[in-house]
Structure formats: structure tokens, C-alpha cells
Symmetry: none
DNA sequence: GATGAATGAGTGTTCATTCAT
DNA sequence: TATGAATGAACACTCATTCAT
């Protein structure tokens, strides 16, 4: 990892725990191990670090979405919610980079309209689309009516969003919190499918 | 409103939109219309303003809870969700003071363990108890099984929590956002009771 | 002299010898004997010091002009160039405050359009008017034709302007330079009046 | 023009409009199109650029003086002030390089004793010698008394010096300012020679 | 109750310069 | 010839706070 990347890494780490304003250039450089003036070789100013992080995040999450979309017709055999676990929980909500970025956006949404919009998009709009699209696929199998699938997607989104704020964007992202999130989410999934007499692998 | 109250009012207004750190004593005093040194007659230091706000909030919300509890066995006649609307939505989530405090706690949860705990308590733990207790009362009427009531309470909490973050702790607390929140929450309530063949006034 | 005045005094002293940019807030505060942060109690920013100096100068020089105008019909007996000596040389060109301001404007004319305009006005336009008005008064006595008076005023202005730049806005404002200026200016006056067969006290 | 010359060119352009201190290595390199470290291949340090400019200027102006001296006994036929126009106005005062250097010296005279001396020499001492020498030559023709020639030279110097500061070292060196300077200078010449019943071509 | 004046510690940022490549 | 990367020192300025009045 080169200096520029280390600055981004350290900055995100600090921003996501203390907020952009509360972190000083001194803090960042101290943690990276460079002099303050050196930072300005890599970034125009403090703001530029935040902007770079946002761009990096949008790139990252866009490519995640691409992977997700190409993986979204799983095996032709039936339907599985496993990949929500893999692609949405594991690679998005639990991913250290993405999780930190979500915290950063959560804190900074009030200071900055651009971040507010990204926050709204990446914590509400896109997750809703992803999750409801999964249930829409379920409806296509004919096992569930479209109306039911719609409602299930909506409920599931509400549940994961609530759990995200409760466990993943609160305190440290510890293993306990991840486990608690996963357990409650899985219980909820099971519940949804129990109603259908299914088990998640339809 | 005396000077001390005006300082608290202005401070909350600024803290909830910019965060504690980002607001200076200058900003506060400028908005109140006093000199910076005058503020120290009323408060020991900047931190003291935040602490006062937290104390005021806990007092306020505790008395709300008292009212709510005494109002929670409504009329002996039947059961109504109306008071969730009145006491939880209107007097808590939409209330300017409470809403600002929630925003403040949301932003400052990462800076300050005390605030993090209050955040967890007043946005997750207590609301969960309030809402599930309402559905528990529903079970006591015998119209709904305890398990169903439990699940309904859980679902309803997830929905209102998600909607709170989506509409009430994002951007300005505009009438549009309040309306959107109320509409989706009411739709959700209706949905829950449709399953029961009911209408919310059981 | 209070702190604010001392800051202005020291600032002008430094600005007029080193230029605005080259003087730091540290330099000023060091010379005044206050901490850097204290300066910001009295002035909004560095620029504000410069602006205050400009305003003070314009006030000062305006009141000088008022005095000069009311003094410009000397004694009814005849006409004397003495007051050019007193009001223009002594109280303007040689005056420490005015001289420093002229140096400051000379240096800063290129950085700042407002200063450039003041420079043009107070070193060229107004002095020209003052000096030619004196010779116009001479013409009114009938001793000199209007055309001659006009030409004399023009010549005299050229001479004093050249001498100002040569002696008064170059190096330190030492007694030698003031003497050299005065001598050459007086020689020039004498020369002008010799042509008329006069002696300056017409 | 090679890199070194481009650096000098750009530097003079910036120095003469903003002053030495106010221009950064960044500014210069940005305008030249090289990296800041590259500049140090060509110049020892920032100061070295200024010194190079001063040396270049002294060389340039010395060779101008040589040309002027060899041209100063014009045609044996009579005497002409035309060459003051050509050699002094056109090739010195109006010349972009010389004009910029004069501005630079004007601004920097207070920061630097060496520059102050150059300023005094090239704006006052040498111009005075050149111009009075022209009028001395006029005296040699016998048309004018030595005393008159002396006074005329002195007056003419005062006029051109004042006009130089008023028009050529103030604001941009626009065509309007050059025209204004030339017009007033020519009027003045005409005036001088009118008194002699001449016309400038004696 | 309120303020004028001051301050030490800190902010983000720019500066000219160096040096290995 | 040129540059990528770094740096120490300085910059203007803001911060929360104090204290005598």
C-alpha cells in the first residue's frame, strides 16, 4: 500500500469513528507516519481526502452491484437467498471499507448535501431495490404471489435496515454485533419462509 | 424564554444540523445575540451545554413515558393504535425538540460513549418496548395469539425504525417527510390488521 | 494609545517598509507586544488592518484638504507660497503617517485595485489640483497671465512629484532626504519667480 | 526560448505585477509548465531568479546606453530630439522587459538595498544624465545658453519622470497610457522649444 | 448578568527547498 | 533535464476559555 492509499485508509478509519471535522490533518499524518506538509503532495486539501473516499466508495459499490447483478440468476435449479448473505451482508454490510463508509456518511450527512444524497442512496434506495428484486425473482418461480413477494421484500428491507442501524452502525463493528445481526436476520428470513411452508431454498 | 434557555435552544438547533464539534461558541453566541464571555455565566463550558441538553431530553422523554404508561390502558372498551400515532409519532418522533435530540445523538454517538448509550436506548431499546407492549396488550384481548402479537410488534418496530431513519433523521424535518413517514407507517399498520381481518380499532 | 491604535501604528510602520505580504501577523504582534490571537479581537483579519489604515488615511487627508481650502485665501495682502511649504510639504509629504501611507500605496498599488486608485488619486490627481490651484490664485492677482500660471503650476507639479519619488519615497525618510527635497523644491520655486522678477511673496 | 529563459520571462511577468514575495515557486512553475523541483536544476534558489533578472537587466540597459552614446552625435547637420523618443521612450520606458524591471525595482526597492540602489540609479541618476546631456549638446550648438540648457534639461527630466510614474508604472502598460505619456511629453517638448522660437529640430 | 480584552493551543494550508531516481 | 516524494518552518486564522470590570 503506497502513501496515498495509506492516507485514505487511515483517514477513513478516523473519519468513521470521530467524524470528518473532529479529525485533524495532524491526526491523520501522525497515524500514517508522515509530516503534515507531505500530505499535501497527495491531496489538494482535507476535503479532497473525503472526496477521494467517496469516489472510491462509489466505484467499489458499483462494481459490487455489477457482480451482484450477474450473479442474480443463480443456478436455474431453484432459488436461494444465500447470495443475499454473501453479497449483501458479507461483502457489503460487514465489509470493513463499506461499513466505515456507511458510518462516515451517517455522521456527515448533515454537513454536506452530496454526502446526504449518497447516504440516502446507498443505505435506503439501492438496498431496497436489491432486496425487493430478490423477492421479485421468487415470485417468478410461481411459489409466491406477486403481492406477497412485494410485501415480503418490503418487510425484509425494513428488518435488515433496522438491524443495520442497530448492530452495524452503532459502536464498534465487533464479531458479537455481526453475529447478532446475522442471527436476527436469519431468524427473520426463516419466519418469512415458514409462513410459506418453505425453508429459503425453494 | 430567558438567556439560558435561548442558549440551549440555539445550541440544539446548531448541534443537530452540524454536530457538536462543528459548532463553535462563537456560532452559538452569534445566534443568541450575546458575547462569548457571557455564555460562561450560564454554562461552565461547551460540554456543559451538551450535558444540559441530554439531561433536559431525558427528563422530557421520561415524563412522556409516564404519560404514555398511564394512557396505555385506554378505555377498557377495546384497543386502539391511535395513541401510538399521538404519543409516539406526534409527540416523540415529530416533536422538534425530540427529533433534534435524536439527530444530535445520531451524529455524536461515535464521539461519546454516554451519548452512544442514550442513542441505543432511546432509538432502539425503549421504542421496541413501547411498541411490543402495545401488541402484547392486543394479545391480552384474545384476538391475536401471543406469538402472532410478538411477531407483529417486532415487524412494526422494524418498519417504524427504518422509516424513522429514512424520513425523520435525514435532511430537514419537512412536512413532506413527515407525511411520507405517516403514510407508510399507516399503510403498514393497515396491512398488519388486514391479515387479522381487523382495522386497527379492534 | 490603545491596543488597536498600536496595532495600526506598528502595522503601517512594517507595511511601509516591507510591503503588506511580507509582514506577518507574528511580526506585527511581536512588535506590539501581544499574542497573535489577541490581534483578532481588534481586527477581523490581516486585510482588515490594511483597510483600516486606508480609511484612516482618507479621513486624515480629507481633513487636511479642508484645512488647506479654508487657509487658501491667505491674508488679503498679497499672495504667498509659504503655505504650500507648510500644508503640502510639512503636513503631507513629510508627515510620518502620510509618508508611510504613500509608501504603502506605492508598494501595494500592483496587488490591489482599490489601493491603485487611491495611489493615483493622492499622489497625482489631488496634488496636481492643489498645486495648480495655488498658481491659479496667482493669476487672479494679475501679476501673471493665466496661461503662464497654468504652465507654472504644471511645471511645479512635475518638479515636486519627481522630487517626492526621488527623495521622499526612496530609502528612509531621513533628515538629509527631507532637506534635499526642500532645497531643490525651493530652488525651483525661486527659479520660477525669478523669471517673473518676483520673490515668492508677490 | 529554452526552459531557463522561459522561467526568467514568466518570473519577471509575475514579479512585476505581484512583487517578488507574493509570487511562489509554484506560481512560476505552473505558468512555465514544469514541476517545482525542476526549477532548481536551472536556478540555485528563488533569489537566484531575481538576481539573474537584475544581471540581465543591467546588461541590457548597459548595451542600450552604448548604442545611445554612439548615436548621440546624430548627423552633424543639426540637432534632433527624435532619438530621445526612439532610444529613451520607445526602447527603454516602453520596452516590455525594461518597463517590467522598473516596476519590479519600484516594488522591491524597500525589501532589498541592492535593488533600491539599482532603482535609484536607473530611474533617477542615469535618466537625468542622459536627458541633460542632450540639452548640453544643444548648448554646444550655440542656440541656447548653457544656463538655459541646464534648466531645460532639468525641467524636462522632472516632467518625464513624473509622467513615467503617472502613466508607465501605474496599472497595466496599455496603449492608452503609452499614448498619454507620449502626448504629454511631446507637448512639453514643444513648449520648451516654443520659448526658443524653435521646433525641436534646431 | 454581561462584556472587553486577552490568551495558549490548535486549525488547515503554503512555502522554498532537497534528494534519490 | 526533469520529476516524485518528502520536509521544517512559517502562514493566517479559530478555538474554548479566563478574568477583571
Amino acid at each position: 500500500m503506497n502513501t496515498k492509499e495509506r492516507i485514505l485508509d487511515v483517514s477513513l478509519s478516523l473519519f468513521s469513528t470521530s467524524g470528518y471535522e473532529a479529525v485533524s490533518i495532524r491526526d491523520i499524518c501522525g497515524a500514517v507516519g508522515i509530516k503534515e506538509s507531505s500530505l499535501y503532495y497527495h491531496f489538494k486539501n482535507k476535503r479532497d481526502i473525503l472526496d477521494s473516499l467517496m469516489r472510491k466508495y462509489e466505484d467499489h459499490v458499483s462494481s459490487l452491484l455489477d457482480v451482484l447483478r450477474s450473479a442474480s440468476v443463480p443456478n436455474g435449479q431453484g432459488f436461494s437467498l444465500d447470495w443475499l448473505d454473501i453479497y449483501f451482508f458479507e461483502q457489503y454490510l460487514f465489509d470493513p471499507f463499506c461499513n466505515r463508509m456507511m458510518r462516515l456518511m451517517l455522521i456527515e450527512q448533515f454537513h454536506n448535501e452530496e454526502i446526504r444524497e449518497a447516504y440516502e442512496r446507498w443505505l435506503f434506495v439501492e438496498p431496497y431495490q436489491i432486496q425487493t428484486s430478490v423477492f421479485a425473482m421468487l415470485a417468478e418461480t410461481g411459489l409466491v404471489s406477486e403481492a406477497d413477494a412485494n410485501r415480503m421484500g418490503h418487510d425484509f428491507f425494513a428488518a435488515t435496515t433496522m438491524l443495520t442501524f442497530k448492530y452495524l452502525l452503532n459502536g464498534d463493528l465487533s464479531q458479537e454485533r455481526k453475529d447478532a445481526f446475522r442471527k436476527e436476520a436469519h431468524d427473520y428470513m426463516a419466519l418469512l419462509f415458514m409462513k410459506l411452508g418453505g425453508n429459503g431454498n425453494v
